[in-house]
Protein backbone atom coordinates (compact mmCIF):
# COMPACT_ATOMS: atom_id res chain seq x y z
CA UNK A 1 0.00 0.00 0.00
CA UNK A 2 1.98 2.97 -1.22
CA UNK A 3 1.32 6.25 0.53
CA UNK A 4 -1.27 8.60 -0.91
CA UNK A 5 0.08 11.46 -3.00
CA UNK A 6 -2.01 13.83 -0.90
CA UNK A 7 -2.48 12.31 2.52
CA UNK A 8 -4.34 14.94 4.55
CA UNK A 9 -7.90 13.79 5.34
CA UNK A 10 -9.02 17.26 4.35
CA UNK A 11 -8.05 16.31 0.79
CA UNK A 12 -10.47 13.42 1.09
CA UNK A 13 -13.21 15.84 2.11
CA UNK A 14 -12.35 18.11 -0.82
CA UNK A 15 -12.67 15.21 -3.25
CA UNK A 16 -15.94 14.20 -1.62
CA UNK A 17 -17.32 17.73 -1.89
CA UNK A 18 -16.29 18.22 -5.50
CA UNK A 19 -17.90 14.86 -6.20
CA UNK A 20 -21.23 16.61 -5.67
CA UNK A 21 -20.56 19.61 -7.88
CA UNK A 22 -17.76 22.01 -8.83
CA UNK A 23 -16.92 24.56 -6.15
CA UNK A 24 -14.27 27.04 -5.11
CA UNK A 25 -12.20 26.30 -2.00
CA UNK A 26 -13.91 28.74 0.31
CA UNK A 27 -17.27 27.35 -0.69
CA UNK A 28 -16.04 23.87 0.17
CA UNK A 29 -15.04 25.10 3.60
CA UNK A 30 -18.41 26.70 4.33
CA UNK A 31 -20.22 23.64 3.09
CA UNK A 32 -18.17 21.37 5.32
CA UNK A 33 -18.93 23.63 8.26
CA UNK A 34 -22.63 23.88 7.59
CA UNK A 35 -22.83 20.11 7.49
CA UNK A 36 -20.72 19.76 10.59
CA UNK A 37 -18.10 17.73 8.76
CA UNK A 38 -15.45 20.00 10.23
CA UNK A 39 -16.06 18.17 13.50
CA UNK A 40 -14.88 14.93 11.93
CA UNK A 41 -12.18 16.27 9.62
CA UNK A 42 -9.63 18.87 10.64
CA UNK A 43 -10.25 21.97 8.57
CA UNK A 44 -8.17 25.10 8.40
CA UNK A 45 -7.62 27.58 5.63
CA UNK A 46 -3.91 27.16 5.26
CA UNK A 47 -4.23 23.44 4.76
CA UNK A 48 -7.30 23.79 2.57
CA UNK A 49 -5.59 25.87 -0.09
CA UNK A 50 -2.35 23.92 -0.03
CA UNK A 51 -4.26 20.65 -0.25
CA UNK A 52 -6.32 21.94 -3.16
CA UNK A 53 -3.24 22.90 -5.13
CA UNK A 54 -1.61 19.56 -4.33
CA UNK A 55 -4.72 17.77 -5.60
CA UNK A 56 -4.60 19.85 -8.75
CA UNK A 57 -0.91 19.15 -9.24
CA UNK A 58 -1.61 15.42 -9.15
CA UNK A 59 -4.54 15.65 -11.53
CA UNK A 60 -7.25 14.70 -9.03
CA UNK A 61 -9.09 17.97 -9.54
CA UNK A 62 -8.87 20.72 -12.14
CA UNK A 63 -9.74 24.40 -12.25
CA UNK A 64 -12.80 24.98 -14.42
CA UNK A 65 -13.21 28.73 -14.17
CA UNK A 66 -11.89 31.78 -12.44
CA UNK A 67 -14.39 34.42 -11.47
CA UNK A 68 -13.69 37.96 -10.42
CA UNK A 69 -16.60 39.94 -9.04
CA UNK A 70 -15.80 43.57 -8.56
CA UNK A 71 -12.58 43.96 -6.73
CA UNK A 72 -12.99 40.80 -4.63
CA UNK A 73 -10.34 38.16 -4.57
CA UNK A 74 -10.50 35.75 -7.43
CA UNK A 75 -12.51 32.62 -6.91
CA UNK A 76 -11.16 29.60 -8.70
CA UNK A 77 -13.78 26.92 -9.16
CA UNK A 78 -12.50 23.35 -9.25
CA UNK A 79 -14.07 20.13 -10.51
CA UNK A 80 -13.12 16.55 -9.74
CA UNK A 81 -11.47 14.49 -12.50
CA UNK A 82 -11.84 10.79 -13.27
CA UNK A 83 -8.56 10.14 -11.51
CA UNK A 84 -9.92 12.08 -8.56
CA UNK A 85 -13.07 9.97 -8.41
CA UNK A 86 -10.98 6.83 -8.44
CA UNK A 87 -8.73 8.20 -5.71
CA UNK A 88 -11.76 9.13 -3.61
CA UNK A 89 -13.32 5.69 -3.98
CA UNK A 90 -10.06 4.00 -3.11
CA UNK A 91 -9.57 6.27 -0.12
CA UNK A 92 -13.08 5.77 1.21
CA UNK A 93 -12.67 2.02 0.83
CA UNK A 94 -9.51 2.18 2.88
CA UNK A 95 -10.97 4.48 5.53
CA UNK A 96 -13.93 2.20 6.07
CA UNK A 97 -12.33 -1.20 5.79
CA UNK A 98 -8.87 -0.74 7.28
CA UNK A 99 -8.42 0.49 10.82
CA UNK A 100 -5.63 3.00 11.05
CA UNK A 101 -3.82 3.46 14.32
CA UNK A 102 -4.35 6.98 15.60
CA UNK A 103 -2.90 8.22 18.85
CA UNK A 104 -5.24 9.70 21.43
CA UNK A 105 -3.87 12.33 23.77
CA UNK A 106 -5.14 10.46 26.80
CA UNK A 107 -2.93 7.50 25.95
CA UNK A 108 0.13 9.71 26.30
CA UNK A 109 -1.03 10.83 29.72
CA UNK A 110 -1.86 7.31 30.90
CA UNK A 111 1.61 6.18 29.84
CA UNK A 112 3.02 8.43 32.56
CA UNK A 113 0.62 7.87 35.42
CA UNK A 114 3.36 6.88 37.91
CA UNK A 115 4.85 10.37 37.54
CA UNK A 116 2.08 11.72 39.80
CA UNK A 117 0.97 10.44 43.20
CA UNK A 118 -2.13 8.21 43.09
CA UNK A 119 -4.37 10.71 44.87
CA UNK A 120 -3.63 13.39 42.31
CA UNK A 121 -4.27 11.03 39.41
CA UNK A 122 -7.63 10.05 40.91
CA UNK A 123 -8.61 13.68 41.17
CA UNK A 124 -7.58 14.51 37.62
CA UNK A 125 -9.30 11.48 36.13
CA UNK A 126 -12.50 12.39 37.90
CA UNK A 127 -12.30 15.91 36.58
CA UNK A 128 -11.94 14.46 33.12
CA UNK A 129 -14.90 12.16 33.57
CA UNK A 130 -17.03 15.08 34.62
CA UNK A 131 -16.08 17.15 31.58
CA UNK A 132 -16.79 14.15 29.39
CA UNK A 133 -20.22 13.63 30.89
CA UNK A 134 -21.05 17.22 30.00
CA UNK A 135 -19.87 16.59 26.45
CA UNK A 136 -22.02 13.50 26.25
CA UNK A 137 -25.09 15.53 27.16
CA UNK A 138 -24.13 18.07 24.52
CA UNK A 139 -23.99 15.37 21.90
CA UNK A 140 -27.25 13.85 22.96
CA UNK A 141 -28.95 17.23 22.78
CA UNK A 142 -27.54 17.90 19.34
CA UNK A 143 -28.68 14.51 18.09
CA UNK A 144 -32.12 15.15 19.50
CA UNK A 145 -32.22 18.37 17.53
CA UNK A 146 -31.02 16.78 14.32
CA UNK A 147 -33.70 14.16 14.71
CA UNK A 148 -36.29 16.86 15.33
CA UNK A 149 -35.18 18.57 12.13
CA UNK A 150 -35.87 15.30 10.37
CA UNK A 151 -32.30 14.86 9.16
CA UNK A 152 -31.71 11.09 8.92
CA UNK A 153 -28.96 9.43 10.93
CA UNK A 154 -27.27 8.42 7.71
CA UNK A 155 -25.94 11.96 7.54
CA UNK A 156 -24.52 12.08 11.01
CA UNK A 157 -23.32 8.55 11.80
CA UNK A 158 -19.85 9.94 12.39
CA UNK A 159 -21.26 11.94 15.28
CA UNK A 160 -22.82 8.84 16.78
CA UNK A 161 -19.46 7.14 16.54
CA UNK A 162 -17.72 10.01 18.27
CA UNK A 163 -20.32 9.85 21.02
CA UNK A 164 -19.53 6.18 21.53
CA UNK A 165 -15.83 6.95 21.79
CA UNK A 166 -16.48 9.65 24.35
CA UNK A 167 -18.70 7.34 26.36
CA UNK A 168 -15.94 4.73 26.37
CA UNK A 169 -13.43 7.31 27.49
CA UNK A 170 -15.64 8.64 30.29
CA UNK A 171 -16.34 5.15 31.48
CA UNK A 172 -12.67 4.24 31.39
CA UNK A 173 -11.55 7.36 33.24
CA UNK A 174 -14.00 6.98 36.08
CA UNK A 175 -13.47 3.21 36.35
CA UNK A 176 -9.73 3.75 36.48
CA UNK A 177 -10.06 6.34 39.23
CA UNK A 178 -12.11 3.83 41.19
CA UNK A 179 -9.66 1.04 40.62
CA UNK A 180 -6.80 3.14 41.90
CA UNK A 181 -8.79 4.24 44.92
CA UNK A 182 -9.73 0.67 45.83
CA UNK A 183 -6.28 -0.74 45.14
CA UNK A 184 -7.75 -2.89 42.38
CA UNK A 185 -5.14 -1.77 39.89
CA UNK A 186 -2.07 -4.01 40.04
CA UNK A 187 0.94 -2.01 41.13
CA UNK A 188 -1.11 0.62 42.95
CA UNK A 189 0.25 -0.53 46.33
CA UNK A 190 3.84 -0.10 45.26
CA UNK A 191 2.93 3.23 43.73
CA UNK A 192 1.37 4.51 46.93
CA UNK A 193 4.31 3.33 49.06
CA UNK A 194 6.78 4.98 46.73
CA UNK A 195 5.11 8.35 47.09
CA UNK A 196 4.88 7.95 50.83
CA UNK A 197 8.65 7.53 50.96
CA UNK A 198 9.06 10.62 48.83
CA UNK A 199 6.54 12.79 50.61
CA UNK A 200 6.81 11.69 54.23
CA UNK A 201 10.52 10.87 54.45
CA UNK A 202 11.77 13.28 51.84
CA UNK A 203 13.70 10.67 49.90
CA UNK A 204 14.17 11.97 46.36
CA UNK A 205 12.37 10.01 43.65
CA UNK A 206 15.58 9.59 41.67
CA UNK A 207 17.04 7.53 44.52
CA UNK A 208 14.04 5.22 44.47
CA UNK A 209 14.44 4.73 40.75
CA UNK A 210 18.15 4.07 41.01
CA UNK A 211 17.98 1.41 43.72
CA UNK A 212 14.41 0.15 44.14
CA UNK A 213 15.32 -3.06 45.99
CA UNK A 214 16.90 -1.07 48.78
CA UNK A 215 13.67 0.79 49.44
CA UNK A 216 11.05 -1.76 48.53
CA UNK A 217 12.76 -5.03 49.32
CA UNK A 218 11.86 -8.15 47.40
CA UNK A 219 8.15 -7.57 47.72
CA UNK A 220 7.84 -6.42 44.15
CA UNK A 221 9.69 -9.05 42.13
CA UNK A 222 9.08 -7.41 38.76
CA UNK A 223 11.27 -4.50 39.83
CA UNK A 224 14.24 -6.75 39.30
CA UNK A 225 13.54 -7.51 35.74
CA UNK A 226 11.74 -4.52 34.40
CA UNK A 227 12.22 -2.04 32.92
CA UNK A 228 15.23 -3.83 31.49
CA UNK A 229 16.93 -0.76 30.10
CA UNK A 230 16.83 1.07 33.43
CA UNK A 231 19.78 -0.77 34.96
Amino acid sequence: MAKRKVANPLAFAVLGSLGERPMHPYEISTMLKSRGKDLSIRLNYGSLYSVVSALEKHGFIKAVETLREGNRPERTVYAITEAGQAEFADWLTELLARPEKDFSQLEAGLAYLPAFPPAKVIELLEQRAEVLRAEIEQFEATHEQLRAMGLPQLFWVESEFRLELIRTEAEFASRLADRIRNDELEGAGFWRQGYELVEKLGIPMTDLLRDPVKYFGEEFPWLQEVPPEAR
Copy 2:
Protein backbone atom coordinates in the same frame (compact mmCIF):
# COMPACT_ATOMS: atom_id res chain seq x y z
CA MET B 1 -4.70 28.43 27.99
CA ALA B 2 -1.83 29.59 25.87
CA LYS B 3 -0.35 27.01 23.53
CA ARG B 4 2.64 25.00 24.70
CA LYS B 5 6.03 26.22 23.45
CA VAL B 6 6.75 22.66 22.29
CA ALA B 7 3.48 20.97 21.51
CA ASN B 8 4.43 17.56 20.12
CA PRO B 9 3.44 14.76 22.54
CA LEU B 10 6.85 13.29 21.90
CA ALA B 11 8.27 16.26 23.80
CA PHE B 12 6.11 15.21 26.73
CA ALA B 13 7.63 11.73 26.57
CA VAL B 14 11.12 13.22 26.41
CA LEU B 15 10.46 15.26 29.55
CA GLY B 16 9.02 12.20 31.24
CA SER B 17 12.05 10.10 30.33
CA LEU B 18 14.59 12.69 31.41
CA GLY B 19 12.64 12.96 34.65
CA GLU B 20 14.00 9.52 35.49
CA ARG B 21 17.62 10.22 34.65
CA PRO B 22 19.76 12.09 32.11
CA MET B 23 19.95 10.43 28.72
CA HIS B 24 20.91 11.09 25.13
CA PRO B 25 18.15 11.23 22.50
CA TYR B 26 18.76 7.85 20.95
CA GLU B 27 18.69 6.25 24.39
CA ILE B 28 15.33 7.91 25.01
CA SER B 29 14.02 6.42 21.81
CA THR B 30 15.18 2.88 22.67
CA MET B 31 13.79 3.19 26.18
CA LEU B 32 10.41 4.33 24.87
CA LYS B 33 10.38 1.40 22.50
CA SER B 34 11.41 -1.18 25.07
CA ARG B 35 8.58 -0.02 27.31
CA GLY B 36 6.13 0.03 24.46
CA LYS B 37 5.42 3.74 24.92
CA ASP B 38 5.97 4.21 21.20
CA LEU B 39 2.56 2.58 20.77
CA SER B 40 0.93 5.44 22.67
CA ILE B 41 3.11 8.30 21.50
CA ARG B 42 4.18 8.84 17.94
CA LEU B 43 7.95 8.44 17.77
CA ASN B 44 10.22 9.08 14.83
CA TYR B 45 13.81 10.16 14.66
CA GLY B 46 13.32 13.38 12.78
CA SER B 47 10.80 14.66 15.29
CA LEU B 48 12.80 13.38 18.24
CA TYR B 49 15.87 15.44 17.52
CA SER B 50 13.98 18.56 16.52
CA VAL B 51 11.83 18.30 19.63
CA VAL B 52 14.88 17.86 21.83
CA SER B 53 16.51 20.97 20.47
CA ALA B 54 13.27 22.91 20.83
CA LEU B 55 13.04 21.81 24.46
CA GLU B 56 16.61 22.92 25.00
CA LYS B 57 15.97 26.26 23.34
CA HIS B 58 13.14 26.92 25.77
CA GLY B 59 15.14 25.87 28.81
CA PHE B 60 13.12 22.75 29.64
CA ILE B 61 16.17 20.52 29.29
CA LYS B 62 19.88 21.19 29.08
CA ALA B 63 22.88 19.33 27.67
CA VAL B 64 25.03 17.97 30.48
CA GLU B 65 27.81 16.27 28.53
CA THR B 66 28.89 15.32 25.07
CA LEU B 67 30.61 11.99 24.67
CA ARG B 68 32.56 10.77 21.73
CA GLU B 69 33.50 7.09 21.72
CA GLY B 70 35.91 6.19 18.97
CA ASN B 71 34.67 7.50 15.69
CA ARG B 72 30.97 7.14 16.52
CA PRO B 73 28.64 10.08 16.26
CA GLU B 74 28.62 12.35 19.27
CA ARG B 75 26.13 11.56 21.97
CA THR B 76 24.79 14.58 23.76
CA VAL B 77 23.32 13.71 27.13
CA TYR B 78 20.48 15.92 28.33
CA ALA B 79 18.99 16.47 31.77
CA ILE B 80 15.65 17.99 32.71
CA THR B 81 15.61 21.45 34.32
CA GLU B 82 13.29 22.80 37.01
CA ALA B 83 11.31 24.60 34.33
CA GLY B 84 11.12 21.31 32.48
CA GLN B 85 9.73 19.50 35.51
CA ALA B 86 7.10 22.18 35.94
CA GLU B 87 6.20 21.97 32.26
CA PHE B 88 5.91 18.21 32.48
CA ALA B 89 3.67 18.36 35.55
CA ASP B 90 1.47 20.96 33.93
CA TRP B 91 1.28 18.96 30.74
CA LEU B 92 0.44 15.70 32.47
CA THR B 93 -2.25 17.48 34.47
CA GLU B 94 -3.76 18.75 31.26
CA LEU B 95 -3.51 15.42 29.45
CA LEU B 96 -5.29 13.61 32.25
CA ALA B 97 -7.89 16.15 33.25
CA ARG B 98 -8.86 17.83 30.00
CA PRO B 99 -10.19 15.84 27.08
CA GLU B 100 -8.71 17.02 23.83
CA LYS B 101 -10.60 16.47 20.60
CA ASP B 102 -8.64 14.18 18.33
CA PHE B 103 -9.91 13.12 14.94
CA SER B 104 -10.13 9.43 14.17
CA GLN B 105 -9.74 8.32 10.58
CA LEU B 106 -12.94 6.33 10.70
CA GLU B 107 -14.94 9.48 11.40
CA ALA B 108 -13.77 10.89 8.08
CA GLY B 109 -14.95 7.77 6.32
CA LEU B 110 -18.30 7.68 8.09
CA ALA B 111 -18.89 11.29 7.10
CA TYR B 112 -19.01 10.15 3.47
CA LEU B 113 -21.00 6.93 3.72
CA PRO B 114 -23.60 8.02 1.14
CA ALA B 115 -20.86 8.20 -1.48
CA PHE B 116 -20.94 4.39 -1.73
CA PRO B 117 -23.95 2.13 -2.22
CA PRO B 118 -25.24 0.55 1.00
CA ALA B 119 -24.20 -2.98 0.07
CA LYS B 120 -20.61 -1.93 -0.44
CA VAL B 121 -20.54 -0.06 2.86
CA ILE B 122 -21.85 -3.11 4.69
CA GLU B 123 -19.14 -5.24 3.17
CA LEU B 124 -16.36 -2.79 4.05
CA LEU B 125 -17.57 -2.29 7.60
CA GLU B 126 -17.64 -6.01 8.15
CA GLN B 127 -14.12 -6.33 6.83
CA ARG B 128 -13.10 -3.69 9.32
CA ALA B 129 -14.83 -5.42 12.19
CA GLU B 130 -13.00 -8.61 11.36
CA VAL B 131 -9.61 -6.93 11.32
CA LEU B 132 -10.45 -5.28 14.61
CA ARG B 133 -11.43 -8.55 16.21
CA ALA B 134 -8.01 -9.92 15.28
CA GLU B 135 -6.39 -6.86 16.85
CA ILE B 136 -8.40 -7.38 20.00
CA GLU B 137 -7.09 -10.91 20.31
CA GLN B 138 -3.59 -9.59 19.80
CA PHE B 139 -4.03 -7.15 22.63
CA GLU B 140 -5.51 -9.73 24.92
CA ALA B 141 -2.61 -12.08 24.26
CA THR B 142 -0.08 -9.34 24.92
CA HIS B 143 -1.78 -8.40 28.16
CA GLU B 144 -1.78 -12.03 29.22
CA GLN B 145 1.93 -12.12 28.60
CA LEU B 146 2.60 -8.91 30.51
CA ARG B 147 0.62 -10.29 33.39
CA ALA B 148 2.60 -13.55 33.22
CA MET B 149 5.80 -11.55 33.37
CA GLY B 150 4.45 -10.01 36.55
CA LEU B 151 4.49 -6.46 35.22
CA PRO B 152 1.68 -4.60 37.03
CA GLN B 153 -1.16 -3.02 35.09
CA LEU B 154 -0.09 0.37 36.35
CA PHE B 155 2.61 0.30 33.68
CA TRP B 156 0.35 -0.54 30.80
CA VAL B 157 -2.98 1.15 31.53
CA GLU B 158 -2.66 3.02 28.26
CA SER B 159 -2.80 -0.30 26.44
CA GLU B 160 -5.95 -1.27 28.29
CA PHE B 161 -7.47 2.01 27.22
CA ARG B 162 -6.55 1.44 23.62
CA LEU B 163 -8.12 -2.00 23.81
CA GLU B 164 -11.36 -0.44 25.04
CA LEU B 165 -11.32 2.01 22.14
CA ILE B 166 -10.79 -0.79 19.65
CA ARG B 167 -13.59 -2.81 21.19
CA THR B 168 -15.89 0.18 20.87
CA GLU B 169 -14.91 0.64 17.26
CA ALA B 170 -15.39 -3.03 16.38
CA GLU B 171 -18.75 -3.05 18.07
CA PHE B 172 -19.80 0.14 16.29
CA ALA B 173 -18.68 -1.06 12.86
CA SER B 174 -20.49 -4.35 13.04
CA ARG B 175 -23.61 -2.83 14.60
CA LEU B 176 -23.70 -0.20 11.87
CA ALA B 177 -23.39 -2.82 9.14
CA ASP B 178 -26.34 -4.63 10.71
CA ARG B 179 -28.39 -1.49 11.01
CA ILE B 180 -27.89 -0.70 7.36
CA ARG B 181 -28.74 -4.23 6.33
CA ASN B 182 -31.94 -4.24 8.37
CA ASP B 183 -32.98 -0.74 7.34
CA GLU B 184 -32.73 0.35 10.97
CA LEU B 185 -30.60 3.33 10.09
CA GLU B 186 -32.74 6.36 9.29
CA GLY B 187 -32.20 7.41 5.71
CA ALA B 188 -31.12 3.97 4.55
CA GLY B 189 -34.26 3.56 2.46
CA PHE B 190 -33.66 6.75 0.56
CA TRP B 191 -30.04 5.78 0.16
CA ARG B 192 -30.90 2.40 -1.33
CA GLN B 193 -33.46 3.91 -3.72
CA GLY B 194 -30.99 6.51 -4.87
CA TYR B 195 -28.47 3.90 -5.85
CA GLU B 196 -31.11 1.83 -7.56
CA LEU B 197 -31.94 4.79 -9.77
CA VAL B 198 -28.28 5.23 -10.54
CA GLU B 199 -27.47 1.58 -11.12
CA LYS B 200 -30.63 0.21 -12.69
CA LEU B 201 -31.81 3.22 -14.70
CA GLY B 202 -28.45 4.79 -15.37
CA ILE B 203 -29.43 8.20 -14.08
CA PRO B 204 -26.25 10.07 -13.14
CA MET B 205 -25.84 10.79 -9.42
CA THR B 206 -25.27 14.48 -10.12
CA ASP B 207 -28.81 14.74 -11.50
CA LEU B 208 -30.23 13.25 -8.33
CA LEU B 209 -28.30 15.73 -6.24
CA ARG B 210 -29.40 18.66 -8.36
CA ASP B 211 -33.12 17.96 -8.32
CA PRO B 212 -33.97 15.41 -5.64
CA VAL B 213 -37.68 16.16 -5.48
CA LYS B 214 -38.09 15.23 -9.12
CA TYR B 215 -36.72 11.74 -8.46
CA PHE B 216 -37.83 11.07 -4.91
CA GLY B 217 -41.01 13.08 -4.62
CA GLU B 218 -42.12 14.46 -1.30
CA GLU B 219 -41.45 11.23 0.53
CA PHE B 220 -38.29 12.56 2.08
CA PRO B 221 -39.24 15.95 3.46
CA TRP B 222 -35.78 16.77 4.84
CA LEU B 223 -34.45 16.91 1.29
CA GLN B 224 -36.21 20.23 0.93
CA GLU B 225 -34.47 21.89 3.78
CA VAL B 226 -31.15 20.22 4.03
CA PRO B 227 -28.34 20.56 3.18
CA PRO B 228 -29.10 24.27 3.09
CA GLU B 229 -26.00 25.26 1.17
CA ALA B 230 -26.69 22.84 -1.65
CA ARG B 231 -29.32 24.99 -3.32
